[in-house]
């Protein structure tokens, strides 16, 4: 037995050698920060360094939760991520079904090419584009409204507390739509055409075919994406919000990550910031495992693990 193990190991020694760079990499840049997150339980001080910091249990968490700015960020975080899930998850599915209804390969291809464009630029660029659309000096929309004869006051929706969460949601759905359609359209292409023919012979119309064949064939894909999506629920979109928000709307836009950034990078409260991050990661992990388990219970073939 051990001899066989030794033989296998020596036979594959080059394969193990190949694994080393990747393993070293994740150890240094993924697992080391996971160990580093233990500063969330320590009285960390930049001058004393990491190893000397004494353990303080959950004190950092207690401090964190007593801050009204954190509870506000947590509230925003939950609201924004629920709205993003509810609006953003079904949209690419609907969009794919619509693109699939177009006649002619060319127009389907064209639609698919155009919807994905915003996906390839950074949120910084999107911020610039939102500025170009909505700024009140020379923006596209205010200018358009004025040229249509609107004379009332026009405010920049990027600076309004009342509208900003919708800017976050809509720009998220708009930017991500194309990426989602790639996955769904790829799955739709793989559906057996005979199913449609058979359904048509049985008198099923377009809508019923869409419901009973297309959507039900997409179900495994939808479930996998939903699991990942729910696992990301605690992440309300740092890249996006950091790029497009400003101090005027902070009370509506601040989420856990942006607050952790402020705590850590601006106020040097590293331990509390790490606690905020850990709180987020742990809930995220629990959410993935739970959704995966539920998905498996409903359908043993689905799920990510």
């Amino acid at each position: 037995m051990t001899r066989r193990l030794g033989r296998d190991l020596s036979r594959d020694k080059l394969l193990y050698l190949m694994l080393i760079p990747g393993l070293v990499y994740v150890l240094l840049f993924k697992y080391a920060p996971m160990y580093g997150v233990t500063i969330a339980f320590r009285n960390y001080n930049i001058f004393k360094g990491f190893a000397d910091a004494p353990f303080v249990g959950l004190a950092n968490f207690a401090k964190l939760f007593s801050r009204s700015a954190f509870t506000r960020a947590l509230g925003n975080n939950i609201l924004i991520s629920i709205l993003k899930l509810v609006c953003g998850f079904p949209f690419p599915i609907i969009l794919s079904l619509m693109i699939n209804e177009l006649r002619g390969r060319k127009s389907r291809k064209l639609a698919q090419t155009l919807v994905i464009l915003p996906n390839f630029v950074s949120w910084i660029v999107i911020n610039g584009i939102l500025f170009a659309m909505f700024n009140t000096t020379g923006g596209a929309i205010p200018g358009l409204l004025r040229s249509l004869g609107y004379t009332g006051a026009i405010s920049n929706i990027m600076n309004q507390k009342e509208t900003f969460q919708w800017v976050i949601i809509v720009s998220h759905v708009w930017k991500g739509a194309g990426m989602g359609t790639i996955v769904y359209l790829a799955a739709i292409v793989g559906i057996d055409q005979q199913l449609y023919e058979a359904a048509a012979i049985d008198g099923a119309g377009r809508l019923r075919q869409m419901w009973h064949i297309t959507l039900s064939s997409l179900r495994p894909t939808i479930v996998i994406l939903l699991i990942f999506r729910v696992g990301e629920m605690m992440y309300a979109g740092f890249d996006q919000i950091f790029a497009i928000s400003n101090y005027l709307v902070i009370s509506k836009a601040d989420i856990i990550d942006t607050y952790a950034y402020t705590l850590g990078m601006e106020q040097q409260k590293f331990a509390e910031a790490a606690a905020a991050g850990l709180f987020q990661s742990v809930i995220g992990l629990v959410l993935v495992l739970a959704t995966n388990a539920i998905a498996k219970k409903l359908d043993p073939d689905s799920g990510i693990m």
Binding site: D12, G22, L28, T137, A140, G205
Partner: protein, 300 residues
Amino acid sequence: MRKPKQRKVRESRGERIGHFFVSLFLILFCFTTTYPFWHVLMYSISDSNAAMSGGLFFLPRKPSFLAYEMIFKTQQIFVAYGNTILRTAVGTLIAITLSILTAFPLSRRRLRGRGGFSMAFFFTMLFTGGMIPTYLIVQSYGLIDKFWALVLPSAMSAYNMFILRNYFKSVPDSLEESAHMDGANSFTVLFRIFVPISKPAIAAVAMFYGVAYWNEYMDGILYINKPQLEILQVYLRKLIASTGTLNSLSGIQNLSAAANLTEESMKMATIAASIIPILVVYPLLQRYYTRGITLGAVKE
């Protein structure tokens, strides 16, 4: 996709109306995803005063390249561009190499401990240390204000590596066996057989990495304070956020030119300058992205 011929036959009136609204919606939605980019381009080559009233720009108003002349007078935009290009090239190369080297052993069924190793990589997709601990680690490696801080922290994503592994798995074992029979070792098998055969998947994954490196900006904010290492996205962010751009850009001496140039025009020109490279390679990006995602959709 279905053949259009068969569908026409059975279409009822309701279905035709439905089809009309579907097309209308898609046209409007595609307009919203493309027009803003066109708007920025057209605004940036319009005369500032003519553009000031805003509204839709289907064509430039009084074409003028003054804004571009001005933004390219500053050194910093070239520095930022250079850094972004360099970190994208170096980062993609390192990331793709790491991913190939890791994916190949993990795709070999005979490898002992394969499941455990795979899990070690998969777990990094489920759980992260978070921004602040990562920052502290990067700091402890002495990478703050170093070029490598723009490359290493995101050099290999488990997701991309698994796409490659799945692709390698689909290559028939017989190819590897016969190569081994001829005396080839695993490195030769990987680089002479698997890499050439997996070109589409590798190209797609390289594209994923390239776009991520080009667009990522948080590393530039967290780890870099030196202007010489500023990346394009961070430069752009500063510029869009600033009011008083004209003053903040050093080297603009020509006041009469500056008087005919608004901040908006300069911002548009800078945004345009940063998206033009993406628009140029867009058809390529779109094709490889589609391919990569389709490959990634294959489950373990």
